[in-house]
């Protein structure tokens, strides 16, 4: 069975009396271990789709199954569990907590997973090492460069050992050289067998990934 399976998924927003169709009947299957890029013009619905895949939001209609679980009909608590256990999410704007250190940021998902303090520390340190920031654990995000912040965010996404990592324009706020090192990191993760889906509107990036999903006006083309 496929790891991710979307059947006729739609997402509509109601703004005043206007109905905005952000996603319009998406059918999509992503297998275990795939490395895919979603590409499309601005406003085409990429982020909306990512939020659904990342269990941050629910579809208006359609069926969506992740790792055998019907998330289109799951409770809010179940979705929290999915985000915590099965999914790592990397944002374009990093979304780190400015008041906490690198290590504390990376520990955050484990707090909600009920991991003991001791184990949180060891696992966070390992994750930070994995992204090459072992020497910056005591810094706060504001003391880091954009690329370093995104590495912290990736470490945080990996720390609960999720089956899938979603990244919404992870290089969008970075210069191309830094972006390349981040993409290199994703490639390595993919080679280690992790399922990765990232969003980009950069064709050069999409060209590097084995699979390319193109989206336009809320539809896959």
């Amino acid at each position: 069975m496929a790891l991710i399976e979307l059947t006729n998924v739609t997402k509509r927003y109601r703004v005043g009396s206007q109905d905005i169709v952000a996603l319009d009947g998406i059918d999509l299957v992503i297998e275990q271990g795939e490395y895919a890029a979603i590409i499309g013009p601005s406003g085409s619905g990429k982020s909306t789709l990512m939020h659904l895949l990342g269990c941050l939001d629910t579809p208006t209609s359609g069926m969506m199954r992740i790792d055998g679980i019907d998330v289109s009909r799951a409770s809010a608590n179940k979705l929290s569990e999915m985000r915590n256990q099965k999914i790592g999410f990397v944002f374009q704007s990093f979304n780190l907590l400015a008041k906490f250190t690198v290590l504390q940021n990376v520990e955050l998902p484990m707090i909600y997973a009920g991991v003991t303090a001791q184990e949180r520390r060891t696992r966070a340190l390992a994750a930070v090492e994995r992204v090459g920031l072992s020497n910056r654990v005591k810094n706060t995000p504001l003391q880091l460069s954009g690329g370093q912040m995104q590495r912290v965010a990736i470490a945080r996404a990996l720390v609960n050992d999720p089956r899938i990592v979603f990244a919404d324009e992870p290089t969008g706020n970075l210069d191309s050289k830094t972006g390349a090192t981040i993409l290199e990191l994703f490639r390595e993760l993919s080679e280690q067998g992790r399922t990765i889906v990232l969003v980009t509107h950069d064709n050069k990036i999409a060209a590097q990934t084995p699979r390319r999903i193109e989206i336009q006006d809320g539809k896959i083309v």
């Binding site: 809010a76 608590n77 929290s80 979304n95």
Partner: protein, 456 residues
Amino acid sequence: MNLWLGLLLGLKEISSHKFRSFLTMLGIILGVASLLSMFSLTAGMAKGMREYMQQVGGIEKVGIITQDVPIEQEGYAEISPGRTVADAEAILKSADLVSYVTPVSELQSCAITRANQLFRSFVVGAWPDFVPINKHEVARGRNLSLMDVENAQHVCVIGDGISQRLWPELPHFNPIGQSIMLNGCPFTVVGEFTHYEREEDKRRREQAAKAPPVERDRTKRKPPGGAPGGGRGGGSGGGMFDRKNAMILIPISTMFYEFKSASVVGLVDQGPNYKLDQLSFQVADTAAFQQTMNQVQAIVGATHRGIEDFTFDTKQEWFDTIEESVQSTRLSGGMIAGISLLVGGIGITNIMLASISERIREIGVRRAVGAKGRDIFMQIVVESAVIGFIGGVLGLAASFGIMKILVMISDKNAPVVELPAVLISFSFALIIGVVSGFYPAIKASRLDPIEALRYG
């Protein structure tokens, strides 16, 4: 997320906005401080009053007082001899529930003289039981004896205030064996009572004595009948033991013999007046209070030949009044403190609302990495509870400060800090902290993750 982490997070959040948090806590601090101070001050007041009550005989002292006879007995009321020593003797003989009994005959204004000292004061004639009933204590010499009463001896036991006025130049003079004149009649001093004072004053006096270099002559042994307590209000001031310290006790037989055998009204001698001024007894067991009263009622009823010209005067109402006044002070004080706490609580709610709208994005991030609504709820409530907790602790500290100052600037009864009052005041702070966090916490926990992440 567990409670411990929540506490750490709350502390971190509070310490990163120290001044703001302090302002938020101010309402709680004031509320707790006033609540505990009020509890402690009223407890001190009540303690002072109870102490005084105890000193004048306590609840176990009952007086038999005269009353108007009922209408149906008016015609033959004169068959009752009224309150006499015979009543006391009957009680002494037959009332086994009574531990002490004494008749009392007083001389309101008697000339007291020794050498060149002269003043007027009251003299009490009674039985030796007068001493335990009225919680007197003989410090030097002895109490009156039954022999003294039997033989109408010219002996007296005097209060410490009297000694001071008779021997003003000798502060700790031992008056035992000395002779004094009461209305020109010589009496030998056989005993001296202790110096009565509030525990509070005693403590201060001892403290002052311990710190000698400080020139604070607090030898607070006031002369009786002198300036009453320097204008300190209420029965709880320092002067309340003045009358007790001014006691001159003589055998009742001597009183009758020397001072009551003639009662001159309008230049005409009315003959001896052996009516009593007081007749009081002590209940042996206050648990059997009513039975004791019934027993005495029957005995005195018999000596009065069935005429109901007497009734009982108990201190029960006094005690009730103390409790009532403490309760009502607590109620009104509690209300004021409660309002302060309520305002403090609203302040916390307000700040927590401001704080979560500053942290919407943080909440979004937490939700995104797997926090459930209830985790966010917990975090906010715990943070709010921590504010209440710290406010409570500071409030308790402030209250001790306030009470110290009050004790320093006034001579009133020292506040009594009782553990339940501390716990109640503190729990209020904690509860207010928790409850104030509910609304902001619910709001925060209902934030949509995506909306929250997109915010700002």
